[in-house]
């Protein structure tokens, strides 16, 4: 933990940094593999639709003497058709049948109650009309479209449309992979799963918003200078928010993991399990894409702009021009934040365009920032302020 703590400081100052943008091809590759697996799984294994989407009836009996076979037999005595029996928790069995009339429903309930010697109230029943599933899925789809529209508008206003686009692509990426992995694990799709999917929307974007907020801060007034490329600024932002991303994801995953545990171990089958699995995958994938995919996409979009290309050229010239210039600017990466705050271009080649800690520049950067007296950061800052 404490390792992570100091790592945070070093990441922030740019002493340690991982070149997310430079390695984007690698991470695009990883995502491509995940996407292919997901799509294949969706095509081959399909999503197993729960009774809520197929229509049908479900019974739950809770009794110490309950057994799968006895339940199956009892239900089969009353109604025909396919009967799926599943154990839920330690002393409950669930049976699902095809659509029944309300008389049949009552008959099965009474039969089960008699067989296992429980009050008929203690046999839970659920009946789902055949068109119900379609109703809720089309509603969920509508919710999705409206939500995406709202988010695109919000992000375009709050950031810019290229950020909104990158965030959207990352979001779709998350959804496809989540659905794919869900089908791979083979849980049934129930309304709870749909809830989970829809929640991922919020979560995945939430992470991306935090990273992009930092990107925007770092790139403020960037195009006017020549110190850092857009990609470099994005990379710095990802590194600076990395600890937060990790912490946030861990903190989000902990309670979801707890629900998953309770759903699988304590309840066996039910909404908790489906909801938490969808969420667990979704949050994890969302965190991944907010670090590896969304910023890289954004950098890719922005680097196409003439202004940004010109900037990249200037930065490149600078680098080949004189190393001394770079080192002189090396007043310490700790300056970055105040720099952006005052609206001036992001400081120094803390993370030179697309560079990594272990590549050319860092060699002279690291010592330089170490050799700086710590409080120097403060002094520099005040110097900056007066400017």
């Amino acid at each position: 933990m404490s390792r992570l703590g100091t790592l945070g400081a070093r990441l922030y100052r740019g002493e340690v940094s991982y070149d997310f943008i430079g390695h984007r091809k690698l991470w695009y590759g990883v995502s491509a593999v995940l996407l292919v697996v997901s799509i294949l799984s969706l095509l081959v294994l399909r999503l197993t639709l729960g009774i809520e989407f197929r229509g049908g009836a479900e019974f739950r009996v809770k009794s110490p003497t309950v057994s799968d076979d006895a339940v199956r037999e009892t239900v089969a005595n009353v109604v025909g058709g396919e009967i799926v029996v599943q154990r839920v928790g330690s002393d409950t069995v669930r049976a699902q049948t095809e659509t029944l009339t309300s008389e049949e429903l009552e008959e099965v309930q009474t039969a089960l109650a008699e067989e296992f010697d429980v009050a008929s109230e203690d046999v839970s029943t659920q009946f789902i009309g055949p068109s119900w599933g379609q109703d809720i899925s089309s509603k969920a789809l509508r919710a999705l479209v409206f939500f995406l529209l709202g988010v695109v508008i919000f992000l375009s206003l709050y950031f810019e449309w290229k950020m909104a686009l990158a965030a959207m692509i990352a979001l779709l990426h998350d959804l496809v992979i989540t659905a794919g992995l869900y089908s791979l694990i083979g849980f049934e799709v129930t309304p709870a799963t749909v809830i989970g999917f829809l929640t991922i929307l919020g979560y995945s974007l939430y992470d991306t918003v935090v990273v992009f907020d930092k990107v925007r801060e770092n790139t403020h007034g960037l195009a006017g200078g020549s110190r850092m490329t857009y990609s470099g600024a994005v990379n710095l932002a990802v590194n600076q928010t990395l600890v937060r991303s990790i912490n946030t994801s861990v903190i989000a995953l902990l309670p979801i993991g707890a629900i998953l545990f309770a759903g699988v171990v304590l309840l066996g089958a039910g909404p908790l399990k489906d909801l938490s699995l969808a969420l667990f995958i979704g949050v994890a994938v969302g965190a991944y894409s907010s670090v590896f995919i969304a910023p890289a996409l954004l950098a890719g979009f922005k680097e196409r702009e003439p202004a940004m290309q010109a900037l990249a050229k200037r930065v490149a010239n600078r680098k080949t021009g004189s190393t001394t210039a770079t080192t002189r600017r090396q007043t310490g990466p700790s300056e970055e934040a105040p720099a952006t705050e005052t609206g001036s271009p992001v400081a120094a080649g803390a993370v030179p365009a697309g560079a990594v800690a272990r590549r050319p520049r860092p060699a002279d950067r690291k010592p330089s920032s170490r050799s700086q007296p710590r409080k120097g950061g403060g002094r520099n800052k005040s110097g900056k302020k007066r400017r």
Partner: protein, 598 residues
């Protein structure tokens, strides 16, 4: 640069305490003293209201469709359907049952166990029928009508054929529309037609034709001694009970006579076979009443249009009824078994549109018009989802949900303490405050808006632990970033806040947007989840602004945190700054503080 306002943390914290106390005080006010026959203790008032999946009970989601098949269901028909279904559910006498719309679905919740007949009952198509009145009388035969309003007081209403311009020049004719509750009671004119209570006036033709009446017999001929006996025996003190018995299969057939009450039990009727159906009505609306000269009288009336087929049928019935006198002159408008209105007819209405007038208030006219309009569009109800959860299973789910919440909370607390050390205590305290506020809001909204906590809702709360904790992470990381930039803690706390605030608001906005969209466009469990998610997002913002931030401001003044103690989570060596820088008191001068060696 954002101007860090050191503000007055103490005052903000006090404001939060007051707000929280207010929520808990409001619960006491909002909670009813009893539900049904059960007194509510103070503890009950402060317990969240649980959904049926946790408490046990029956929940039914119905999707209304037009009986004719295609087409969407207009909103006013939907509202009418809900009130019809609410009547039906209420007739089972279950305390606390709720019938509401969710999107274009109808959601019925009935706590406790009920038999499946509820489903059959609520699923029935509500039919509007026009039947001739064969006999009428006071609703309660008992000599002391005491509680029920005097049934004999009734006003006079006029039905005027407005569609046929060439009709009689003086079209107003007296009708009696006593079944519209309340409207006419103030009018003290004695009942012109009601027969003495209990003693039916045998119609001459009835005695002449004692054998069972063949279905479809119209007019007084349909009034058999059996019907008269039923009529005498009928007690209208509880009209809903009558509605309930009429719902039994075969009890209310359109081609058969019907013995029933009006909606408030003031009057009872023997009615002939249905001659005009709700589907024959093309539209109905409430409007201002005007007299024959076209001058508004100040009252309200209901205008009624019939379809082509309905026009002919209505002409037939009014032509026949206009020739009759007394009870036989009236026709009953029957909805779902009970008489909604029973005006008299003075002349044939052949034009296809009629007006029902009386001393209607606007509300009364509109509600009658709605009934008629609904009749024009009978709905069938598809059972979307019917769930009957036993109390034991519900309890299991609740326990598992709470266990998950406890484990999740514990892990989050553990992680934040390990990572943020003593700063993690702020997280713990903030989560505790968020928990207290959330609990209060859930209970309050339970009483205020009828919100019930379902399993999906609990899942939403647990997921929200993550979202809430994340706001603290964003803030803490910002503070640490500022400290890494060499700012003293007391400055970092403020400047970090100014920037964290924006991020927190933007991220929470997205989360809230998701919750709102989900809530508006969904039904059932998704709705409960979205509700708690949206609620906790708002509470998160409140807690971060009103609790976490002021608390951190206060703590930054302490030696332990402000001095960057090794365990404070702000230790200087781990943040790459010096203790002296960290502990610098903000100077009065604007701008950066000058570091001093301690």
């Amino acid at each position: 640069m954002a101007s860090p306002v050191p503000s007055r943390p103490g005052r903000t914290l006090a404001a939060l305490a007051v707000l929280t106390a207010l929520v808990y005080g409001l619960i006491w006010v909002a909670a009813p003293d009893s539900i049904g026959d059960d007194e509510l203790s103070a503890a009950d008032k402060y317990r969240p209201r649980l959904g049926l999946d946790l408490e046990g009970g029956t929940s039914v989601i119905l999707t209304p469709r037009r009986a004719s098949g295609e087409g969407s269901v207009p909103q006013d028909s939907l509202n009418q359907a809900v009130s019809i279904i609410r009547n039906r559910v209420d007739s089972f006498g279950v305390a606390e049952s709720e019938t509401t719309t969710a999107g274009d679905n109808i959601v019925i919740s009935i706590p406790g166990k009920q038999d499946k007949s509820i489903l059959d009952t609520v699923q029935q198509t509500a039919e509007l029928r026009f039947r001739q009145v064969l006999l009428s009388g006071a609703g309660v035969t008992a000599p002391a009508p005491s509680a029920s309003p005097s049934p004999t007081a009734s006003g006079s209403a006029t039905a005027t054929p407005s569609g046929s311009p060439s009709a009689t020049p003086s079209p107003s004719t007296t009708t009696d529309s006593r079944a519209v509750p309340g409207a006419l009671r103030a009018n003290s004119s004695p009942s012109p037609s009601a027969s003495p209570s209990g003693s039916p006036t045998p119609s001459p033709t009835a005695s002449a034709t004692p054998p069972p009446v063949t279905p479809g017999t119209l007019g007084a001929g349909a009034l058999t001694p059996e019907l008269q006996q039923q009529f005498v025996a009928l007690d209208c003190s509880d009209p809903e009970a009558v509605r309930q018995t009429l719902r039994a299969p075969g009890a209310d057939r359109p081609k058969r006579p019907l013995v029933t009450c009006d909606e408030d039990g003031a009057e009872k009727f023997v009615l002939g076979p249905a001659e005009v159906l709700g589907t024959d009505v093309s539209s109905a609306s409430a409007g201002l009443e005007s007299n024959s000269q076209g001058i508004p009288t100040g009252g309200w009336e209901v205008q009624l249009d019939f379809t082509g087929d309905g026009k002919r049928k209505f002409a037939d019935i009014t032509r026949r009824l206009a020739a009759e006198t007394g009870d036989l002159n009236r026709f009953g408008i029957v909805l779902d078994g009970l008489v909604v209105s029973a005006p008299t007819t003075n002349e044939p209405i052949t034009g296809g549109n009629a007006r029902i007038t009386g001393n209607f208030s606007q509300d009364e006219a509109e509600s009658l018009a709605n009934v008629l309009k609904y009749g024009a569009l009978p709905l069938t109800f598809d059972a979307g989802e019917v769930q009957e959860v036993s109390a034991t299973l519900g309890g299991d789910q609740l326990r598992a949900g709470l266990a998950a919440g406890a484990i999740g909370l514990f892990l989050v607390v553990l992680y934040s303490l390990l990572y943020y050390r003593a700063l993690g205590l702020v997280t713990v305290a903030s989560l505790a405050v968020a928990g207290i506020v959330t609990y209060g809001m859930v209970v309050l909204l339970g009483w205020q808006l009828g919100f019930r906590l379902s399993l999906a809702g609990i899942a939403g709360l647990i997921v929200a632990i993550g979202i809430t904790a994340d706001s603290f992470v964003v803030y803490f990381e910002r503070i640490r970033d500022e400290v890494r930039d060499g700012r003293p803690l007391r400055v970092a706390v403020e400047s970090g806040w100014a920037r964290a605030r924006r991020t927190i608001l933007a991220a929470d906005f997205v989360s809230f947007l998701a919750a709102v969209v989900l809530y508006l466009l969904s039904v059932g469990g998704v709705r409960g989840f979205a509700f708690t998610l949206g609620l906790t997002t708002l509470i998160d913002i409140a807690v971060v602004f009103l609790f976490t931030k002021p608390l951190v401001s206060l703590l930054a003044r302490t030696k332990f945190y402000g001095g960057g103690h090794r365990l404070s989570g702000l230790a200087s060596d781990r943040l790459g700054t010096t203790r002296s820088t960290l502990a610098t008191r903000p100077s009065r001068r604007r701008g950066a503080p000058t570091p001093k060696e301690a």
